[in-house]
Subunit: 269 residues, 3 copies
Amino acid sequence: MKAISITNHLGITTVAINNPPMNVLTIKLINEINEFVLSLRDDRDTKVVVFKSMHDSFFLAHLDLNVINGTQGGQAASIEFNHMIANIKAMKQLSVAVVDGVARGGGNEFVMACDLAYATENAAFAQPEIHVNIPTGGQGAVQFARRMGKNKALQALLLGNDFSAKQAESLNIITQFVPKAEMDTFLAMTLGVISQLEVRDIVMYKEIIATSIRDEEAGAELELRYFLARAKEQKTETIIAAFLKHGGQTLREAKDIQGIFIDTAAELT
Amino acid sequence: MKAISITNHLGITTVAINNPPMNVLTIKLINEINEFVLSLRDDRDTKVVVFKSMHDSFFLAHLDLNVINGTQGGQAASIEFNHMIANIKAMKQLSVAVVDGVARGGGNEFVMACDLAYATENAAFAQPEIHVNIPTGGQGAVQFARRMGKNKALQALLLGNDFSAKQAESLNIITQFVPKAEMDTFLAMTLGVISQLEVRDIVMYKEIIATSIRDEEAGAELELRYFLARAKEQKTETIIAAFLKHGGQTLREAKDIQGIFIDTAAELT
Amino acid sequence: MKAISITNHLGITTVAINNPPMNVLTIKLINEINEFVLSLRDDRDTKVVVFKSMHDSFFLAHLDLNVINGTQGGQAASIEFNHMIANIKAMKQLSVAVVDGVARGGGNEFVMACDLAYATENAAFAQPEIHVNIPTGGQGAVQFARRMGKNKALQALLLGNDFSAKQAESLNIITQFVPKAEMDTFLAMTLGVISQLEVRDIVMYKEIIATSIRDEEAGAELELRYFLARAKEQKTETIIAAFLKHGGQTLREAKDIQGIFIDTAAELT
């Protein structure tokens, strides 16, 4: 039996994780995720990949403690886990973690490897590795440092304490806290908008963002190059014509730009 | 008729933007702003430049959609717009956007090009470009990436949704939310303090900040060099003497350092 | 009489600062702090260093204004102050500022040089140097830039205004606001956990964090190298065995991972 099950719907692929008894990141689960993620490499139909857990209490518990040792097998499994994090970060599609349970250690690193992460009041996030004598091994410390700054990161890594979803949002561990009761509606709206885009749109913005964080000037040059090239496309002309026809660049924009976009989309389909 | 009108008062220049019907960034408006900004290059009397809108609903709507195309004129206008953003970022003076309406696309990029931005409950900020098939073209994605981190930036750029002033403050799109009813008093106090400084003070801190963000060690070296040089100035000796005379370096500092600064300034004028 | 007094308790060293009348950073105090910090270089027993003030109103007022001038002695003292900031930043141990009063100028720079900073409702933080014609000289502008971004940093440096502990937490000047009434309990719990670690654990995470902030890929490589090496240690095997014995990697983790850590520690001592 597979530890992940995959369903597709209108450009959104959902990966449901079910690795009893508590969604530990075993080598079996890691291999399945790696295989799936690499299979998306040339997929232009899938725009968004949602990772969610089938477990009541755990999103992903953490990396299997039985591989954290000096054996050849243990070290190889740890490296496979580390590659899984890198593979998720390198996805062309938008990756989204929907977290309704505990995500510690490698589980939290999985969450931070995704482009977006939404979490409920049942979520908990932590990197408690130092209390078993190891550092994080899937970019947990790297991401904490870059997301919350050196001081708050150092405190979180030395304490290893849990963060709630609200705290995690404020510390940039996740994108946004969403109450469980509102999650389905929130995802339908948010991912519904994004799945209308092309994969190349998502790739373009990921590239501009990554470049800009490394080097502001290089990011600005790259962005302008994309802008001038995209401005020349027939698709741009078609959309702008429809947008102008339905009240774009008029006062309707002030309070109802979403309505203009809806009317524009309706005309073009 | 000009799209911008300029007034000066005690070192503070106010640029009122009025480009009917909705403050779109047309090539006419872009050219006027570029001309004005470049005219300040050797101006040592102007310390602060405030940009505000004369429109009820819009700060700046966005870049004129009629230039977003593959024509030579369109591409040239887009590049002029991009240069305007770079010119504002390169100003010696402190640039301040006061936003009491909608600022989307190029309008939001204008806001982020300014050093400081204050906005009211009527403001809205967004980069919705991807929904007309283009990326941002005036460093919108660059600034989102650097200000809110890669995850929240990617979400904002793919959704293109509006942010309120309070949200924009928390995401570093603007410096501070200020209720409309308090804006005039707030600006008088804040800019009143800053306009007492010299242009070289503003330039010095902009340079230290930019260097420090690129390279912490280089920033620290530059800061110390400025500190040691400034410590030698007669002006420093004079101010510190007056500051000490009025209770500087005594317990009065604990609760009333502002009073000491006021007494010091009174003595020196 | 010394301006600092030092006490040790279970791996935690407390430095109480008492430099009447108002805890100004005089050359005497600076020299004492430098001497103390450098004495810790090869100390493996001290895990945490807490800096606190004996003064009712001031944590550290600021750098002595009498050294801010062009004399050889003044310039040398300013450089010693600058080295003190660098020395604190380079400490192997975890440095913690506990702030229950005013910390302006060099006092605030001292706070930001520490790894962690906790502050009460009596604290105030500011870099008002520009109003005496000088920039910050102990990385105040550098740290503001890196912690709050260029816009909020520029505003804070040009205004020189006070921030409360809550504001300072949100701007990353400090790690966390802690009400005065809860501070002792908070410190006992937090530092109690961290003082169980080894100095090399603290050094490792400081190094991974610093590397990751400069270069994400380099940070990820360094982290993995440490992870694989630490996974091989006998100490890791021993702790993981005890952790598994007490309910690690079972459902007990969901709601009581702290209890598992406590049982694990009890078994190992």
